[in-house]
């Protein structure tokens, strides 16, 4: 399984990104880490280039909302990405917010898995569960 990951927008919080990299590798994924300060197009470009199965986006500084709204529009320009698993996590709003409102909103933006203030390992368990269910529905 190939995963493209990175931190979206002007966000430079790199610590989670380093841990995600390590954890994905430990779980046997092929990781393409774009690092911090990565724009949406760069994620999709990299997914096409590498033939990734998953795009895993982090956001920590509160910018996610702004980028989330543009996902559908930008992604629709890429023909081959219809089946890619879209995942986002970190701190998805400015301030604390609450997960019940945030999750449906982000699903609406086009994400399959939404992890607002969810621990990394729990999130990656959700990802593996999602992949399993998709393969054996």
């Amino acid at each position: 399984m190939k995963v493209v990951t990175g931190v979206v927008g002007n966000d430079i919080h790199v610590v989670a990104n380093r841990l995600i990299d390590l954890s994905l590798r430990a779980r046997g994924f092929d990781v393409f880490n774009l690092g911090v300060n990565t724009y949406l197009e760069e994620f999709f470009d990299a997914a096409v280039e590498t033939g990734a199965d998953v795009i895993l986006i982090s956001s920590l500084n509160g910018e996610a909302e702004g980028w989330g709204r543009e996902v559908r529009a930008i992604k629709s320009r890429y023909k081959t990405l219809d089946d890619i698993i879209m995942m986002i996590g970190g701190n998805l709003v400015v301030g604390s917010g609450n997960a019940e409102d945030i999750e449906p909103r982000y699903k609406n933006y086009g994400f399959d898995i939404v992890c607002h203030q969810i621990d990394l390992n729990t999130g990656l368990d959700m990802l593996e569960e999602f992949i399993k269910e998709r393969n054996n529905p």
Partner: protein, 456 residues
């Protein structure tokens, strides 16, 4: 001065900049109230008194004024002015648009105060009104225009530096440019320093706030200080943030201040004032807000133990999101109270740790000085490029990221892989000897993961 003047004209030729009347600004600085100068407070405060400064900034003049008023009532010693991120990227057009929107509606569309758009004539009214020292918190690689405007506004302390505002905050802003832009800033600060009390410059010691070993923190502090004093700055604050071990904080402060004085004298700048600033814990915070308060209180105790001249506060809301002004005021009140009841503080020493750390810092500094480049900034630039200086968890592409640190049983940050940093063998052996390295790699990685969130 004529080269500077030329550069000045270039940066001022910008449609968003008000026309500068430098003669008037010079007069203003010359006659400004001493109370506006933090350097004056550092010099005259009672021995042992620590200045308390919160964080915060709002887009509109009205809200920023209210915040400052609230802070003054809350007994802060130093007002913060945090700049919005568009301004930090010199994108004054967006800042202007967002400022309009914030003024028209009742929503904050910027995460700080767009100083350029407000201009110095307006902003000066606010700060001369409160007559408290103001500290400029930005994170701007090209802060030339910002600093001109700040000083003209009565803001006489400027935080940052070419290394500390770049390596933790940027992925690919060119480092050499940052050095040149900051050289301009230092010169401007130095020039204004002759008129009245000196303008204070402050370095941002916390860096990435994540497992940075004291040797790196100190070296970066010393180098930014030297780059500043070289240009004529007469008052400089070195800083660092709580590291996780009291003993290591005490030793860091000791070595940092001794070496700062030593190197300042080496370049014949022994007359400059050197102050120590301590940041309450800057790393990942506990989500439990009561615990966050415990952590903050502990930071205050340590700040006093290490003899800081100023403390910069955090709030119980750090893990959740941008703190309210009430949360900020509460922290300030609590910090002031704690400083008031901290009595009979003992002197802390650990001769062996101090020796090891001193040797490490000396070795890295020597490597920097031995770089063949002609000027100090070029030497520093080269040393970052070739990994002689390596900041853990920097997102910047120029940074090597080859130094690996973990915590020992006492939670001291220890270097277990030195990368290209010239840590002397004896010190490196000592650092590794403090850790349990018999574990397998997975366990060590797990330890690092755990150590990042050590205060959670």
């Amino acid at each position: 001065m004529s080269l500077l003047q030329e550069e000045r004209e270039i940066i001022l030729s910008n449609e968003f900049v008000e026309s500068f009347d430098f003669a008037e600004v010079t007069e203003f600085v010359k006659n400004a109230s001493k109370d506006l100068f933090i350097s004056h407070h550092f010099k005259n405060k009672p021995k042992g008194k620590m200045l308390v400064q919160p964080r915060g900034g709002f887009p509109t003049y009205k809200k920023q004024f209210e915040l400052s008023e609230f802070f003054v009532k809350s007994n802060v010693d130093v007002l913060p002015l945090t700049i919005d991120s568009n301004t930090r990227l010199n994108d004054y057009a967006t800042a202007q648009k967002m400022l309009r929107l914030s003024e028209e509606n009742d929503v904050d569309m910027l995460n700080g105060y767009p100083l350029i758009n407000h201009g110095y004539r307006t902003t000066r009214k606010m700060f001369t009104h409160f007559n408290k020292p103001v500290s400029l918190r930005h994170g701007t690689p090209d802060a030339r225009l910002l600093i001109e405007t700040a000083i003209a506004s009565g803001i006489f302390e400027i935080e940052g530096g070419p290394i500390t505002y770049l390596l933790p905050y940027s992925k690919n802003f060119p480092l050499d440019k940052a050095f040149l832009y900051w050289k301009y800033v230092e010169r401007v600060c130095a020039n204004y320093s002759g008129l009245n009390e000196p303008i204070n410059r402050e370095s941002f010691g916390p860096l990435t706030a994540t497992l940075v070993p004291p040797a790196i923190t100190i070296v970066v502090q010393l180098l930014e200080m030297l780059l500043s004093l070289e240009e004529g700055v007469k008052s400089f604050s070195v800083s660092f943030a709580q590291q996780g071990s009291m003993m290591q904080d005490a030793v860091t402060s000791e070595v940092l201040m001794k070496m700062a004085r030593h190197y300042a004298e080496e370049i014949d700048c022994g007359d400059a004032a050197i102050n120590l600033v301590y940041h309450q814990w800057m790393g990942a915070f506990p989500t439990n807000k009561d615990y966050a308060e415990q952590l903050i209180n502990m930071s205050t105790v340590i700040a006093k133990l290490v003899g800081a001249d100023k403390i910069i506060t955090k709030t119980r809301e750090e893990a959740a999101g941008i703190p309210t002004k009430e949360a900020n005021a509460k922290t300030v009140a609590n910090t002031q109270y704690t400083l008031g009841i901290l009595n009979g503080l003992p002197k802390i020493v650990d001769a062996e740790e101090e020796e090891i750390l001193t040797l490490e810092v000396q070795a890295i500094m020597e490597a920097v000085f031995n770089d063949p480049a002609d000027t100090l900034w070029r030497k520093v630039f080269n040393c970052i490029k070739n990994g002689i200086i390596d900041v853990p968890f920097s997102p910047h592409i120029i940074n090597h990221n080859n130094m690996i640190t973990i915590r020992d049983a006492q939670k001291n940050i220890r270097i277990i892989d030195r990368g290209n940093v010239p840590i002397p063998d004896r010190c490196f052996k000592y650092e590794r000897a403090q850790c349990d390295l018999t574990k397998d790699t997975t366990s060590i990685v797990n330890d690092i993961v755990h150590d990042i969130g050590i205060m959670q």
